[in-house]
Point group: C2
Chain length 652, copies 2
């Protein structure tokens, strides 16, 4: 083992890709300049308006530096780990000695908080010593370990410093003595998947196959027997959470079936996609085609039956979970930001295994809509829940909307989404290209320079774009000498046609398309210029006829951006707006609006409640309608002008 590695495409190391993009660079700068410092303050309880985190203090108490008691969630350590992971990515693109110094101090602290045998978890060390590994179902012990591992791999790769890597290797080695198929070990697995994908990262950086084997064990074991019930009975039937029955609700943590038999994405959405990511990682490394099939089934189920047009997943608040096929309510939706991030993780693994544009299409959809919507332009306010329709008056009154917030909130008590956005954006370079043999696959269109090893040479590929506002993308090949390779350009599912020019000359490309990529194979000369011009019409998107919540409605999309109506532009009672059929609409640039964007204007009718009277129901009489120009802004930009109504799917 690994018996036979899949021939997977590689992502570029973050250090080798420098994003310079008018859309994304400000976000990445925001992560560096605001989110990470703000998160550091949060971890240290220095943000008066936020609930205390206590995460750093927990480590200090565990390290013996301070007196006190554990405070926070059972997985509070993972917040520190996610911060450290993002710091690792940031240091890979740009040095920052002060930040690195801070990180090194945190690493020292983590080291001191680690037990002599390698165990590392301040909740159990401080609050329930002796109870380690007795409640895998509910207590995120391996999940937290996984985040420490991901942080360590990121920090080691960027700085070359081994200390945190050694810490997590000792921890992983210890875990390997506790879990496994051998008699006397625990044949269990964590309630929240995470360690599975983390262990594969650790395997890749250390080459230690034990980590891959352990990841595979956790995945293979999942869904066999009744482990959570057994451990529950063994520990005396205690529960950590009382609001949900994680022990018996097997779908919640995807333990209802062995992973290869899971045909649909069930339960807690973040767990489901983290699991799928881990399965893909293990499949990639071991060549296990049945695991790859499991990934394809889960992928297909999600994207063809359980995903919002914004790339959001998880249609219900209860359990932050998937519900059933074609059940995608727009207003009571959950669509957690973290779940879309997990979907992006999953998509990238699938792109590495089999470069097909459908994976990149979904990755782009989730990234440009739900993920970007998740964070305000100040880097200090975030959405957990990403609705497609909001009526602020009803939020806080009708309790079906209790989880829906009409404006972004400050740092949360359970702070999973903000650091997840930070670690994704600070490693965004990993998602743009993959390279396999002599082919460079371009999955995302964003400006920047990438150092790419292809066909035995290292070249620099420069991309220039004003994406997502238009579809004209330029590439320059900077190589030392002529070199034959294939530049694979994704033909996105939102374009109505592309034109290709190489050094100013139109080039036929349609016949080269493979799995949704134009495969431009040629001997490239230094300085060769490529123009890839994707038309970007306003699309009237429709939902599958089995979707109840979209029938008779349309959503506007242009490029990867889904658009929405907001009260700020269209007044109250957005439900009274009905799009005219057959109208094309206008794209209007608004450079002064929320940092600059294109808006869409579309002729529509608007029902009026004038002349109706006070009757609640009455027999058919014509309602007064007026012709208006409905104004749409990109979904990601909603709720930046105070609370107001918002709507993605509009009657037609």
């Amino acid at each position: 083992m690994p018996t036979q590695q899949l021939k997977a495409a590689n992502t570029l190391p973050i250090k080798d890709i420098h994003i310079q993009d008018s859309f994304w660079s400000p976000y990445i700068d925001l992560v560096r300049q605001v989110v990470i410092p703000y998160q550091w303050d949060a971890l240290n309880d220095r943000i008066p308006e936020a609930e205390p985190s206590h995460a750093i203090r927990n480590l200090k108490i565990a390290a013996g530096d301070e007196e006190g008691e554990f405070y926070g969630m059972v997985f509070q350590d993972s917040d520190v780990a996610k911060w450290l992971e993002a710091v690792g990515y940031l240091l890979e693109t740009d040095s920052d000695p002060e930040l690195e110094q801070l990180a090194d101090e945190v690493i020292d602290l983590i080291g001191r908080a680690q037990r002599a045998d390698g165990y590392l978890n301040t909740y159990y060390t401080l609050k329930e010593p002796g109870k380690e590994w007795t409640n895998l179902c509910e207590c995120h012990e391996l999940y937290t370990a996984g985040h420490f591992i991901e942080a360590a791999v990121a920090y080691y790769k960027s700085t070359g410093k081994r200390k945190i890597l050694d810490i997590v290797c000792r921890f992983a080695d210890y875990i390997d003595t506790v879990f496994g198929p051998e008699p006397g070990k625990i044949q269990g697995y964590d309630g929240h998947q995470e360690i599975e994908l983390a262990l594969v990262k650790l395997y890749r950086v250390t080459g230690n196959e034990a980590y891959l084997r352990l990841s595979q064990f956790f995945l293979e074991q999942r869904g066999h027997g009744d482990f959570y019930l057994e451990e529950y009975e063994k520990r005396g039937k205690t529960r950590h959470w009382y609001n949900a029955d994680m022990i018996n609700d097997k779908k919640y943590s995807q333990t209802h079936l062995p992973i290869r038999q899971q045909d649909a994405a069930e339960g807690h959405a973040v767990r489901a996609v983290y699991m799928a990511t881990g399965i893909a990682d293990v499949a990639m490394e071991t060549g296990d085609s049945s695991m790859l099939d499991a990934c394809r089934k889960l992928w297909h189920n999600i994207v063809s039956k359980r995903m919002y047009i914004t790339g959001g997943i998880g249609s219900m608040a209860f359990g932050e979970a998937f519900s059933l096929d074609y059940d995608l309510p727009n207003d009571t939706v959950y669509a957690e930001t973290c779940a879309s991030i997990g979907l992006i993780f999953f998509a990238r693994r699938m792109l590495q295994i089999e470069p097909k544009s459908e994976y990149a299409d979904v990755m782009e959809r989730a990234l440009y809509n739900t993920v970007v919507a998740g964070m305000a332009k100040d880097g200090k306010h975030f959405f957990y829940v990403n609705p497609l329709e909001v009526w602020p008056d009803a939020c806080g009154v009708n309790h079906i909307y209790d989880h829906v917030k009409p404006v972004r909130q400050g740092w949360f008590g359970c702070a999973c989404c903000p650091p997840n956005i930070a670690r994704l954006l600070s490693s965004l370079g990993e998602y743009v290209y993959t390279v396999q043999d002599d082919t460079i696959y371009t999955h995302l269109y964003m400006g920047g320079k990438a150092k790419v090893e292809v066909a035995g040479q290292t070249i620099v590929l420069e991309q220039r774009s004003e994406f997502p506002w238009n579809g004209h993308v330029g590439f320059t090949v900077q190589s030392k000498s002529d070199l034959e390779f294939t530049l694979a350009l994704r033909v996105p599912n939102w374009t109505s046609g592309c034109e290709l020019f190489v050094n100013g000359e139109a080039v036929e490309w349609e016949h080269t398309v493979t799995h949704g990529y134009a495969m431009i194979k040629r001997v490239w000369a230094p300085g060769d210029q490529v123009i890839w011009s994707m038309t970007m019409p306003i699309l009237r998107m429709k939902g599958h006829p089995l979707l109840r919540e979209t029938i008779g409605k349309a959503a506007l999309q242009r490029g990867p951006l889904v658009y929405c109506l907001e009260e700020a532009d269209n007044g109250k009672h957005l439900h009274q707006i009905r799009l005219l059929a057959g109208e094309e609409g206008k794209v209007v640039s608004k450079p002064a609006l929320l940092g600059g964007m294109n808006v869409l204007q579309m002729p529509a009718y608007r029902d009026s409640d004038e002349q109706w009277g006070s009757e609640l129901y009455r027999a058919d009489r014509a309602v007064k309608q007026e012709l208006i120009e409905a104004e749409y802004i990109p979904y990601y930009a909603w709720a930046n002008r105070g609370p107001g109504e918002m709507m993605v799917w509009v009657r037609e």
Copy 2:
């Protein structure tokens, strides 16, 4: 006090109206032959498939007849009271010595369970002696008393037997020593309104003004100060319920404002309408116009902003409560059967105070739709929750539908709705007519004979109809001699025109209409025949433009009946059906369908998911549509053919 009684219309005593109607008589027979015996078995724990009630056993234990402990809800006694109340009504129309014997035994038992000082409540007597009146907010102590009083009044009026009346008078007298504005008494009120309307009934039957004064006190006191918090602190901050914060959620029990300042119906819907009913009763008896204004405000808010087209009220499961104006989701709705019954109580009081057809229109709407839908044709299965749209596959999966059942359920643990249906249907005669001076108001159209005192004489008014299937209603006046009086015939809001014939001759009536009633004033001769023929077109009902859930949709109504699509007639995926504009539709009689009914057939388009493929979203392409004949059944008859989709509001 009463300072000045309002000149209110009277309802007919139940004994004086004999309903003989092809639609209603089977329901009333069902109450007599099935519901009441079944409920008796339930109260005695003889229904294996239902949760034990223990209600009779609680009384026996309190009476010292048996050993044991209290079991059940804090208001378990009220189930016995509601059963006894319905028995009272049934005995008024038809004698049943065996049933009366049973009721007398229950009354004896209640008498033995009563404390020497008059107090009566088995929960407190058995389970928390000494804690009486310490948790009015949560423990329904006065609510339960109110139901005993209603039962006593009904039973006394039908049988003339005073025993139960004496029992509740002693109880009410005792309550009067505990509550009131005087120092040393409790200045409080029950969390669940009910005693207010019951005390007015008791006042009417006994003439004891103390009961009216006590009712008025409870209503006037409500919403002043912070009584629930004070009693909570006084009793040592204990709670009876943990799933809801009734102490601080003041709107839940309508204690957020004094009653005259309540502009909107808030909180638990049943409580709100029971309160409104009580206010109307007190206003009627005292002539307090500010109380009457309070009723009008609540009425107007409910019927013009917070009521489903089926007469359902309470749009959210959380708190079984109203939410906000124009928030009427069809699928996550609550619309408890009991709340519509309470709305009917309220409407009838308003009709007594000011005979306006709008009250009767709503009363009829609630009765023919939500109330009848609440009970299956077997009399043993009931709906608590009355949705306007159901997707059974999602019930039990998406937790926003946890309260929605796709088929009627057996007797409930908290058995409020079935006995409430029973007591309404067994007293239905009280809702048909009211009489004021020389005018007989006809509010509901249903066959039967009524003995009416009007203009100083007693006449018999016979009504014949095939309502609700057609609008041709016949009346015969049976008087001893010529008599001048007004027969007021409601012009329902669903008719497009009526014709009046007296003894075969067409009579102009339009100029006589007052508050929605045709006022047919004449000297009636014995045997005079009236034909009142209301056209009953298929109405395409629309919702107010501020209603989000009905916009772009239509609901079909004919007469008082709202219609719905069911999967049994139209296949799955009802959301794919779209009505053609401008089509009239057909009425088709189906005598063999579920006891016989008219169905509606309406041309419609149906989207097909053939040819769409597996993509969840795609840019505008025509969806294949087929022309179909959508078949509608009356809403009340839904869910009688197994679980299936149902939909009232259909796209147009």
